[in-house]
Symmetry: D2
Subunit: 435 residues, 4 copies
């Protein structure tokens, strides 16, 4: 970033610059070197879902001691938060994307915990905060957000069908969820479950509620891990869950009945940007790997080093351009959120949300191609990055939905544009009439 002048780190506060330097050091000297040992310490077979690599807990301790902890919570979260702006946290998130499987969790800044902590901090009662937010902020437990369902088109959240029925002082939950990220983790202690308390409400955005469900509540079955390409992303995983007559006390409602939509809307905005900034970091890592590979003197083809082939050079140039363009778009959205909240930055968020993952996929594809077979293997992070990035083209709203919203938002300018054109035409005719 330091070389990109529009958002110039050297112009941010000295305090942030210091934090950023620490984060960079932590990334390069701790997190990236830990990638291999993390894989080695993972459980085998069924133990994949039971064992947390020790190195992760070591890194968490170190990150916390360095002040690299819970940085995602902005100043609006008061004492809970680190007080960073979205631009500032975005720059940290970019760094963490370079070691996506290690650094976000090590800093207690990984999805879906971040969004869930925001929900608790923003909408939770004091009791809910005490019980769930505090251990989450301390990195002692993890959490999941149970929204997506297999049987409906979940990209339109009003389709969610899980039933949440009140019976006396309890809610009774019945439904099937899948792609519940983090629900495979043995530390995952709590789910935020989205479902319908009022399925017949004529206002489709008032049918849903969000309830807090402890992971050990009877009636919950973890059916299986879903695979992303061939990855199961253990130990967190993306699980399919069945809720059968799962009962929780009515105090476990978040914000109130019928307000589920309101909560998820509030949850999503900045989180999308964090994903996008991590995409930037992932793409920079991909490009670095590509540069290292094509300049490896042992890799020569047809009498030339790989980097002497004109198409390889052109691919690198194109990646450089695309990465920087996407970064500016995402930082712009972050800055807009800082100025106008997520609600005032819908358009900018949509733009970043579409552009960043698509860019990342292109950059990674070029990097994989330059690596040959190695590029798609477990010896490099490229293919796993690719698989994760691919999910971002539909997670939190598919490209198509964001593009449609963005296009419609542009179309709202029509009246103003047409009016201006009319005036210009009138002036033009006036000029001509004087000829």
């Amino acid at each position: 970033m330091a070389t990109n002048s529009i958002v110039d780190i050297t112009k941010l506060s000295p305090k942030f610059q210091d934090l950023y330097a620490k984060a960079k050091d932590f990334l390069e000297n701790d997190c990236i070197p830990a990638e291999r040992i993390y894989n080695m310490q993972m459980g085998k077979g069924e133990d994949r879902w039971k064992v947390i690599p020790q190195v992760m807990e070591d890194l968490k301790a170190k990150a916390r001691s360095l002040g690299l902890w819970n940085l995602f919570l902005g100043v609006e979260y008061g004492a809970y938060g680190a007080g960073l702006t979205n631009v500032e946290y975005g720059l940290i998130a970019e760094l963490s994307g370079k070691a996506i499987r290690i650094m976000p969790e090590a800093m207690n800044c990984s999805a879906p915990d971040t969004g869930n902590m925001e929900v608790f901090a923003k909408y939770g009662t004091q009791a809910q905060k005490d019980k769930w937010l505090v251990p989450l902020l301390n990195g002692k437990i993890r959490s999941a957000f149970a929204m997506t369902e297999p049987l409906v088109a979940s990209s339109d959240a009003t389709n969610i069908e899980t039933n949440i029925r009140r019976e006396g002082n309890e809610y009774v939950i019945n439904g099937r969820k899948w792609w519940i990220s983090g629900a495979g983790d043995p530390r995952c202690a709590v789910y935020l479950v989205m479902g319908k308390t009022d399925p017949d409400n004529t206002n489709r955005h008032r049918q849903q509620s969000l309830v807090i469900v402890p992971a050990d509540t009877p009636g919950i079955t973890v059916v299986r891990p879903m695979q992303v390409f061939g990855y199961d992303d253990a130990p967190e995983g993306h699980m399919e869950l069945i809720f059968k007559d799962v009962r929780v006390p009515v105090e476990n409602i978040v914000l109130g009945e019928g307000r589920g939509f309101e909560v998820i809307q509030g949850r999503l905005g900045p989180g999308r940007i964090h994903h996008c900034m991590r995409c930037i970091g992932m793409s920079e890592r991909g490009l670095e790997l590509m540069i290292a590979r094509v300049t490896d003197p042992s890799r020569r083809t047809f009498g030339k080093g790989l980097s002497e082939h004109g198409t390889v050079v052109a691919d690198i140039a194109q990646s450089r351009i695309e990465i920087d363009q996407a970064r500016f778009l995402v930082l712009n959205a972050a800055q807009k959120i800082d100025e106008a909240k997520a609600k005032g930055a819908m358009k900018e968020i949509s733009m970043a949300k579409i552009a960043a993952p698509n860019m990342l996929l292109r950059v990674l594809d070029r990097a994989m191609q330059a690596h040959g077979a190695a590029g798609i293997s477990q010896d490099f992070p490229l293919a796993h990055f690719y698989a994760s990035a691919r999910t971002l083209r539909y997670a939190d709203g598919p490209d198509e939905v964001h593009r449609n919203q963005l296009g419609k938002s542009e179309l709202k300018r029509a009246a103003e544009i047409v009016q201006k054109m009319k005036e210009q035409k009138a002036k033009s005719e006036e000029l001509i009439s004087k000829l």
Copy 2:
């Protein structure tokens, strides 16, 4: 295919039409329905590399009884072969691509066995044929082709470094190979190993030899399965192997010392086309899944069925165009091979080899996007298809190499074009001079 008139199946021989109808029936009523049970019968954990699903052996028996067996060997292989033209086999291969993990193997037409059988049939001694070709043709054993190495840029095969040293009546092999497809299969009985017998030969294309190595020869270590994205493709796998002082008798040489390059050149041509035709089948399957998904009445977003969104319709149209274009290109190459052998069809093969996998990736990407999260999961074959297709952009020569060869081949037309332009210019000036 029947609807595409350039290569109109109804114009091919009645005998082939009958075979094609059988293959289509076998695909749809046996192979696709077997996909789930195949997965269920696979081994778990380490048993993934030990168990062959019973359904596969059942399907092999059925395919053989139907005459759907070893169809890849053309008329030039005499009694060994089925006598199909490349166009005809190409059409069968297209079908088999729709159930890529099942049908090619069930018909004893799966890589790398097909190429290896061609090598034995074309270049093998009678003893080599008796020992290895016969059981391969009978589907009793499987085989692997050990060329790619981790430490060099294998896209230029002259870089191969494995050492094959003659000592008395034996060759001693030392080297490291990876991405050796099929080497994980418990039935894999033999490797064809590429290495250098004459590393100092000034002709870089005479340094290599190919030797036959029984899989149980001492000194061979299977290090690990390589992963394609997250898939290990058990039980066949793509294995990393170490050859340490592996000894085979000198009779195990194929064709003769220094002729390894000649053999692999002969091996590759038609095989590339088979891959390409399977790509067409895979893309048709992808499009069918997409069509089924977007017309599923239970999947509505924002008040519309998915197929009512204009961008979805446009995506389907674009896929239809791209698939048909690629199919014609591949069939054209097949026909050219039929007419002029692979050597006379280099340009057409390169074109197909570049176009088909890239097309397939685009079509699958659109299909995955229409499926949302389901599209990249184990519940649909799309993501696994994608991963396999991605390997084809560098296997048997990366896009870059083929594009370079193709471009240079076009540039050879320059002299003729320039000469024609000169003559046209002269005529033009003559016309003008008469004004």
Copy 3:
């Protein structure tokens, strides 16, 4: 084409092969050399619309003497026609595209005359044929088709607003048309005018009629030539016309009142394919120019010939692939029309209509880029080709409309696909139940 085996010219009839050879010779030794003198003989200033270069009449005479005349009329037009199949004529049209401004007209095979002659031949009364078709077939007059209007979205032809009112034995025409190709030509003697005779008909496809309007009928004003990028395409031009109380006898109706839509539907199918095949020829010319340019020894940059730059070679390879793919698609559509008429080949025509012009634009763009500034200038035909090709992305139906129709046509397969999947699922479950 001779090198492309799917549609192998050497397999077509000897008679056609002879005609094709003549056409190729005429292209290369007459038409391309005439391009410069054609430009020189054009009128200057207002004379651009008055003068027909003499070389064109010379070429017409030669083409006719060679039997290269009116080849577009297929066997269904009986004595009027040359009896070529659509595939055969397509191959001739490909050749003529290489000298698009010269050869089609020289062979009396240029739009819009071809479509208009088809209308007269297919739907005309004997009197209409005698008066207009005969001189058109003899290349004595030219014609125009007046459909598009400035004030409505003409891509949906039901929007056409020109009024055709019957008064006694006359039709009275009032309306404004533009982009009326050929209407600038001093030889243009007749317009086919599309308008509404029955604007209130509840069947939107029965409101229109087509009437024959001699170009010298009082009440017609040629307002101005429309420009395609900066080209006015004189002398034919694409004119804006006003029809004010233009009167023609009722005998001038084509086919009958309310049947205009039927006529234009019949007119369009094969004509679209002819455009597409000319696109293939134009793209081949573009690629030839690119190859000649980048191998010009006097054009070296940074120590290399242009053709030694890897990206240039890759661009040429990509163009080669794209041209051949599009050619196959178009020839496939032509063959389908031969077999099933245009109506049975709607899908294939749409595919070709979308793919060919888009391909051509990409190929030309690469060729222009390789030429630097020269590429967009009057010294090479590339930019003019580009401008013409660009019109084909909306002429005779914009990409969007064809893509939508094609996508919907694919979606009609949904029921059959879903049914097949259901059966496969049932079989799969049966297999599993026996485990």
Copy 4:
């Protein structure tokens, strides 16, 4: 711009904000309304090269009175300059791109005068400044820069062949130039001519010199206007010129013999950014026209307004994203020039120079498509914009050259990246060794 927060106009100086507001008002209320009358006042036929539309002189007077004059000269040009930063001038240039044929010239900020004025201001003697810079700054004369030649690949400037021979106190110039923009303008009084004074110098970058040649010097022939697509861009034009024994006094050398390369290097940097920012403005205009067109209630197809078609909405969204991405890239380069001079911003300039014109072409293509035939005609500025934008993909260095430089610049990071990876690997192994 005001809505884009990264470079937020409201954070720039009040003085600039005032200037920007004036420029915007001048654009919308004077320049755009003047487009039609400018075309009407142009000469016809040969007079195209003789007449300057009166409205242009009126607008120049108004711009000057508003302080919108010579804004391109930054603070480093002292009293000559307006003192704007590159970011500030970039934002003005963006506005002027929206009326590209009117506003830059009206503000005396149009190429090639801007670059030529920079040359005089930076490298000229006092006498040269007095004679040429002063009237240029006053908008009394115009100028041209004569570098490109038809017979060599001018994208590598060392190929220039025009001979400049010293004879006594004179230079004698012989050569052929083309694409000399502005040389058609009757007000064009002076050329800066690049040629070789020392063709045998072993340092290829010391062979060239730049000399000042009054346009009326004997021996200069204006051969013809070059066409950009079909546009001749009269009255400025892009002319082909012959210099035959053209003599100028030795005082007309710029900076000194052999220093031509040094001068053109100094001339190009910021100018490229100005082109890029005008591209942004042109693309915004294109998008505005598209929005107005597709929301025009009179343009309905198949029962829907154009803006109700999903693909149209998606196209608009995509254009919005691409425009903003490119704008940020260009503003970033501008800011980098402000901080580190053009020399320190080579990479950023290359990125902007590649990205902006390519983006503009895509945006305009979509806008043209939405307009149908009207989009490529003289009734909208889109096609003319397109033609101009297309030249920017090779002018001032083709995409290929910039991409190659940029890619190589990225590759220079290899050593640092590889070193970092080595250290990370060492740390990783240390961690593992402690297991």
